[in-house]
Amino acid sequence: MTSTSVIDELKKFQILELLEQGKRVDGRALDEPRKLIIEINAIPKANGSARVRLGDSEVVCGVKIQPDRPFPDMGEKGIFICTAELLPLSHPSVETGPPGPDVIELARVVDRGIRESHMIDLSQLVIEKNKSVVGVFADNVVVDYDGNLFDACAYAATAAILSSKTPKWEMKNDVPTLVEGGESSVPVTTIPVSVTMGKIGNYIIVDPNGDEWNSMDARITITTDSNGNICALQKGGNGGFSFDEVIKCGEISVKVGSKIREKLKQAKEGGQ
């Protein structure tokens, strides 16, 4: 039978005690994310890729772009799918096998943040209406874990998409056929940035690390777009937020998000 370990309890106590003095275990301000390192084109044979470290959490995202059938009733739009997987080498507690609810939620939240921002202009990814469209698959794999994978995966996927080149296909004899030299950037309309905040006691902290993640009462992930609008949100954890906290988290996500967005732009420029 499981039981909250004494060490976990002590860590939470220490984290809370520091927060009451306005401090965090790793010295950050409450609204300060960890150091973000973005390496694009880490997987050169993919159509786009990025390797991202957020503190000691590390994610590799590869983008594959290939022709696909459109979804029913969506014949005038390309396909975008974003996944996330925790590799067993990322942490001793990760098990192989089909993903559990935590990983499924992670993948779906990262996917929705990008999807709802309309980052990729899917209407430009049609080969032949109702018959063949371009599919953009952004697969995240977590190689090292230290909390807050929501943001680490979102940044990896966004950076990988920004770095992606899509081949060009035309229909020949009803089959999508590659057009040599037709490569272009993926059509991007905005840069979504997810900011995840944890609630410990009555404190809201940005980008919780692994120890903070284990001590949180609740969390909220808010994605904002280049216009500073909010385009996706997910509350998690077995605690609740007050109305004021929810509004405050919205404000933090806009402010922190705009700084991260600059880093993503720089990474793209640097990689070109």
Partner: protein
């Protein structure tokens, strides 16, 4: 949000929505506490065209034992759609969407349930969507709270749930299926009115910071309407003319 083009008028010049409602008016809601013979507690909700049945078992033993917790009880939630509940017949295997919603509803209920009162045991909440119409997770969460109360599980408060959203550039209460497909934003909210805590919150779709605030306020308003109906359902069963 789908954001599909459509000829549908979501909001007319008099501020009336495609289904005849005003902007801050929820759909027809009917909640019934009890109804199932074998479950320890149950509830049935009709929320617009949603029809959802919830059964609760527990507190009961956990198998396998290593899944239990010596310090607290655990809550397990399964949100499940019947094959006939949606337009295209649904594959019976649990979808990733169902798994995520199960988790989100579980985490929305946990702040309300006094799990520490029954360590080593589990409370199981089984949600069955018989007919779906947009906003199933809010309807399901509202019914689940009633079913937990009906099962006699000690609770700090009930979680009431309702979505707010944006359509035709206006913040509206309780987004229906057409508004969800053609609209601009959908924000399901779960709220404990007595404790003033938001325990479920999601958003798909684009809102300015001001709209975001308005949307949360509107959703909480809807939750309070649902809360009254939840209490009425329990009152009817336990103090009314008996179960119908």
């Amino acid at each position: 949000m789908g954001g599909r083009d459509t000829a549908l008028v979501l909001l007319d010049e008099n501020g009336i929505r495609c289904d005849g409602r005003k902007v801050d008016e929820p759909r027809r809601i009917m909640i019934k506490a009890g109804g199932l013979k074998n479950a320890d507690g149950s509830a049935y909700i009709e929320f617009g065209d949603n029809k959802i049945l919830v059964g609760v078992f527990g507190p009961r033993d956990v198998h396998p034992k290593h899944m239990s917790n010596t310090d607290t009880g655990i809550l397990r939630v399964r949100y499940h759609m019947e094959p006939f509940s949606v337009t295209e017949r649904k594959n019976p295997a649990p979808s990733r969407r169902e798994i995520e919603i199960s988790k989100v509803i579980k985490e929305a209920l946990e702040p309300a349930v006094m799990l520490d009162k029954f360590p080593r045991t589990a409370v199981d909440v089984f949600i069955e969507v018989l007919q779906a119409d947009g906003g199933t997770r809010c309807a399901a969460l509202s019914a689940a709270s009633v079913a937990l109360a009906d099962a006699g599980i000690p609770m700090r408060d009930m979680v009431a749930a309702c979505a707010a959203g944006k359509a035709a550039d206006t913040i509206i209460l309780d987004v229906n299926n057409e508004e969800d497909q053609a609209g601009q934003a959908d924000m399901p909210i779960g709220y404990m009115p007595s404790l003033e805590k938001i325990t479920l919150l999601q958003l798909d779709g684009v809102l300015t910071p001001a709209e975001y605030k308005k949307c949360v306020e509107t959703g909480i308003h809807g939750c309070k309407i649902v809360y009254e109906l939840q209490k009425k359902a329990l009152t009817e069963k336990y103090f009314g003319n008996g179960e119908k």
